[in-house]
Structures are given as C-alpha cells and as structure tokens.
Amino acid sequence: MTQYKKREKIQRVFHYSLLVILTIFIIIPFLLGFWTSLLPTADISKGALWSSHISLDNYVTAITQTPIIRYLFNSLLISLLTMFAQIIFCSMSAYSFVFLKFKGRDMLFYVFLATMMLPFEAEVIPNFTTVRDLGLLNHYAVMIIPFLTSAFGTFMLRQAFLQIPAELKEAGDIEGLSHWQYYYKVVMPYSRISVYTLAAYSFLSSWNQYLWPMLTTFSDNFRPVQDGLRQLQSQETFNNWGMIQASAAIIIIPTLIALFFGQHYFKSGLNEGAIK
C-alpha cells in the first residue's frame, strides 16, 4: 500500500516537473518579448536585459508615431466581417447537408470536403488573378470576399448538427416550424458551442493572415496588423526594436481576449437534458 502510494507520488512529481519545464520553454519568449517592450531601444541593442528606464514610452511611441491603430482597426473590421460571414454561410450550408434531403447531397458534401485538401498556398496565384481582374486589389473586400465561407467550418458544423437528436426535428415539425425557424430557433442555439468555437477559430485565423494581405494590399489604409508589423520594421533605416515589441504586444491583445471569452464556452455539458 505505502509502496504503491510512494510510486504514485514519484510519478506525480515527474509529471509536474515535465509540465513545469515545458511551461518555462513556452512562456519565456512571451515574457522576454513583453519585457523588452518596456526597455529603451538603446539598451536592447546592447543586449542588456536590465535597464534603469523601465517605462511605457515604447507604447506611447507606437500609438502616436505609427499607423498601428489604423492597422488594428483594419484587422478588427476584416476579422469581424469574416467571422460573421463564416458563421452564417457555414451554418446554412451545414444545415442543408444535414436536414434537407436532395439528390446527390452526400456526393456534393464530399466534393465540398475535398476542397479542404487543397493548401491555401496552391490557391494564391489563381485567386490573385481573379481578384485583380475583379479590381478588388488594395481594398477591404479583397481580404473578406475569398474567406466568406470555409469548407472546414461547414464540416465542423455539419458534425455538430448531426448530433442533434432526430426527435427535436420531429417535435419541431409537429409545431409546424419551417426550415428557417428550425434553423434559428433550435439548431443554432443547440449547437452554440460549436458555433462559438467556429467564431473564435475564424476570427483568429483571419486576424493572423499574413501572406494574402501582403500580396493584395499596398497602403496603410487597408493593411491589417500582421503586415503592418512587418511594415514598421522596414520603414525606417533604424529599427526601433522597443517600439516594434510594444506594437507586437498590442496586437496579441485581441487574440488573448478572444481566447479568454472563448474558453468559457468550451466546457462541455451545456446541452445536457435534451434527451436522456
């Protein structure tokens, strides 16, 4: 008995030490980045980790002397619009793949799914010529329209909708709910966890887009943050590293907020009680 307990204790110590080591490795770059954003650039260039001038000056410089706020606004607008569009279009297509019966439905779904296999990089050139011909370059539209829907989102919501017990649909039919009513009164609230997850996912992936906006935007008026950050670095001959770090710290804030609120919904068990 005591031997067993002892072994369990050793095992636990081992597990936790491993976790602590991993945590240190993962969190140190973040802490280092945040810390350097508080140091004057002169000290960073010297490679010093300690300075007598710990201040928020870099943040003030970033906000007042660079278009970072404009970048943030651009990104926020693009990400929010992409997020709402994806929720609406993905949920609607998923609904039709689950609740509407039409010829070739499953075949169509597999074709739809097959587009997921295509890496985004492979689509960049044809997409670029398309948006160029449409005259959308250097505008918000170019960063939103190609991402209005996603095969992954449809797939994810379809799986979620398949979990809805068939009796709820029957109960809805008896009350005379139309497809539209069933969609927004039952299906969406029932699958809200998956919808929130998709919302967080699409917001973050839009927020973190880099390649596509780099190719399609040429002015600060439309440039999102990730590309803006890159812009800060090359704009001046002298790189103000402290300020760049401060900007980087500013732009991860929305990501953290999204994760913080998203996390609350990711717990399971909210759908208990529909059926036994």
Binding site: P165, E167, L168, E170, A171, D173, I174, E175, G176, L177, Q181, K185, V186, P189, Y190, R192, G269, L270, N271, E272, G273, A274, I275, K276
Partner: protein, 372 residues
C-alpha cells in the same frame, strides 16, 4: 376527435411492407395503445399518424376529414417522445411555451396555458430550470406539459416511460391515465410493454410482422387471444404452447399418461397447439402418478414459477402459490385446472377455448378428454 385509419400501408421500396393494411377507428376520448415487439412498425405507424412520415397507401381521417397528405401542424395533434425531445437551451417555461410561440399566440394566453399545464404536472416550482437540472421523470413531465399546453385534443405518445425506472414508471402510468381522463384527450400510446398497454388502455392494437394481430380491450385480448403471438405476448409468465397430434377425429397419438385437457368442440385429425397459462396449471403434491420433472424454480414472494419438463420432454411453466419448497429434479404431478386454448398448428387461429367461465354451459356439448 376521432381518428380513422383505413388500409394504411408503409413501404420504402414498393415491395417490402413494413406495415400493411392497418385499419382501425379510434373514438374521441379513447386511450388507444399500440403494442408489439421492437421492429414491428409501431413507431412508424405513430409517425404516419403524426404526419412525420408519408403514408404509402391508405387513408387517414381525423374527425371524418381526410388528412392523409396534410403536414403535421395542420393535423392539430401533439406528440410526446421516448427521449423527451426537450430543448436543452430553454428553461421549463419556454420549453412548454415553444409550440405556442411558434403558432404566434398572444403572450397572456401563452402564460395562462403554460402555468395551467405546469400545475397539472406539478412542476410549478421548476419553471426556471433548464432540462439538464431536472430528473428523468421531471423531464418527461415537462414533455407532457408541452403536449397539454397545446390546445390539440389528440396526443401521440411514443414509449414515453421506457427511459424511466420501474417505480417511477408505475407512478407516471397512473398520472398519464388521469390526465387523459381529465382533459378528454384522444391518446394513442405506443409501447412494447404489455403491462403498460393492459393497465392503461381502453383498447389495444397488437402489431407483429407488419400486420394487425388483434384489436380489443385488455381483458378480451387476455381471455380470447386471436393467435399464439397475442397469447404469448400478453401475460407474465408466458403462456405454455404445447403441440399435440390428433390421429383420427378426437383420437390422440401420444399414449403416455401426462396432461389431461378437456376440449368442448370436436376437432379433425391433425396437429394443434394447446395454450395453457402458467396459472391454469397446478401441481398436485399428494399424487403418486407423476408426469414431470422440476428443472428450475423462480421464487417471487407471493408465488413461484416452476419450470418443469413433461415426460414427453415438453418444457412448461407453472405458477404456484404453494408454500412447500420444491427442489430441482423432483418429480411432480402437473394437471390443468384453468382455462386453455386450442390453436391451429401454425398458431394463426384460435379454434377453441375452454375456460372456467364456460363450465356452466359445457354440458351441452360432449366433454372429450385428451392427454398427451
């Protein structure tokens, strides 16, 4: 509201019938049970009445009006499901009000109806809870309240109690029956549990093999089952079915002295099945002429069920209230003391009954003794 089914059939491929030629007229205010083993099509039949599944052939009338091709909401009925089908994101009140809101009823009217329905099922204290915070019985009561709140006078129930534990099921059984009486609902109740059907229903439809086997009151079904399926489906423990052979008219082939049956009507030579309920058999402990061996005993408190093998190796079940302890492998003398039935060889037809209630008139016809 009366419901009339006229030659209703269901097939998915045009040749294999899941249900064929179902006809019955269910009267206003009747508690009608559809009972059968799993896979017999009883839930399909209920869903066809509800309008959730299209009817392949036949006609469905509600109050004399043909509703065969009407969508569910125009048939003015409600349905209670086996697994409750509550909306987990709505509280009890909104769950009950769901259908009323969908029908765009005035708010004050909705409130009165919801409160009234929740009062009837004793859930007034749980009005703000989510289904996840309720027990199984309470969830099913919410589903009942949802059916009550609607003004539909027809209620369909699809095995509503089978997810509940035995004690609760008994309680809910009488609650549902009371509610049905109080509200004057025409209720169609699907179940695989013969006890539920017998205790609750005014009339029972027995379904098996896509066909109606019998439609009658519980006591008639128990007393005069139309075939061996119905006979063995109703009553616990199951009825004994013993094959016999008559060589010539009224002459038995088997010679061994075993069970003795008296049969009122003369029968042609051929094979028959004799049905005897376990409680119509008794064990004579005094007799020396034994005809069976005990193989197993189930003690149930007030009575025991004795499994025995007759000397012609036929297995039978006997219900006995005897206090004397029998033991396995003991030889016993079994005799028929109650009513029994003669079925055709294929079990499809009831040819003859001989119950205690016919004894008074039995002198009119010769009593023949058969033994196997």
């Amino acid at each position: 509201m009366s419901i009339e089914l006229i030659n209703i059939s269901k097939t998915y491929n045009g040749s294999d019938f899941i249900l064929s030629d179902i006809s019955v007229k269910i009267e206003t205010g009747e508690f009608f049970a559809i009972v059968g083993p799993s896979g017999c099509g009883k839930s399909t039949l209920l869903r066809m009445i509800a309008g959730l599944i299209p009817i392949s052939n036949g006609q469905l009338k509600i109050d004399g009006k043909d509703v065969t091709n009407l969508p569910p909401q125009e048939r003015a009925l409600t349905m209670v499901f086996q697994n409750y089908a509550l909306f987990p994101f709505l509280n009890v009140k909104d769950n009950v009000a769901f259908g009323l809101k969908a029908r765009k009823m005035a708010n004050s009217e909705i409130n009165t109806r919801v409160n009234h329905a929740l009062e009837l099922v004793n859930l007034t204290d749980f009005i703000d809870r989510k289904p996840g915070e309720l027990s199984g019985g309470q969830r099913q009561r919410v589903a009942l309240a949802r059916a009550i709140a609607s003004d539909a006078k027809i209620c369909l129930m699809d095995e509503p109690l089978s997810n509940l534990d035995a004690q609760l099921r008994n309680k809910m059984r009488s609650e549902i029956r009371e509610l049905q009486q109080k509200l004057g609902l025409t209720l169609i109740y699907v179940t695989h549990d013969q006890v539920e059907a017998m205790t609750m229903a005014d009339r029972i439809m027995v379904l098996n093999d896509a066909q109606t086997q019998q439609i009658d009151s519980a006591s008639n079904i128990y007393d005069t089952p139309s075939n061996t399926f119905v006979a063995s489906f109703f009553g616990t423990p199951q009825m004994n079915l013993i094959p016999i052979t008559l060589k010539e008219n009224n002459q038995l082939s088997a010679i061994e002295i075993s069970l003795k049956f008296s049969i009122i009507k003369s029968l042609k030579a051929g094979n028959y099945l004799i049905g005897v309920r376990p409680n119509a058999l008794s064990i004579d402990l005094e007799s020396n002429e034994t005809n069976a061996v005990v193989t197993n005993i189930e003690y149930l408190g007030t009575h025991s069920i004795v499994h025995a093998q007759l000397d012609n190796s036929q297995e039978i079940r006997i219900e006995t209230s005897s206090k004397r302890n029998l033991s396995v492998d003991e030889r016993i003398s079994v005799s028929v003391t109650g009513s029994h039935y003669v079925f055709s060889e294929d079990g499809q037809k009831l040819l003859n009954t001989n119950g205690g209630y016919t004894d008074g008139n039995s002198s009119k016809e010769p009593q023949l003794q058969y033994s196997i």
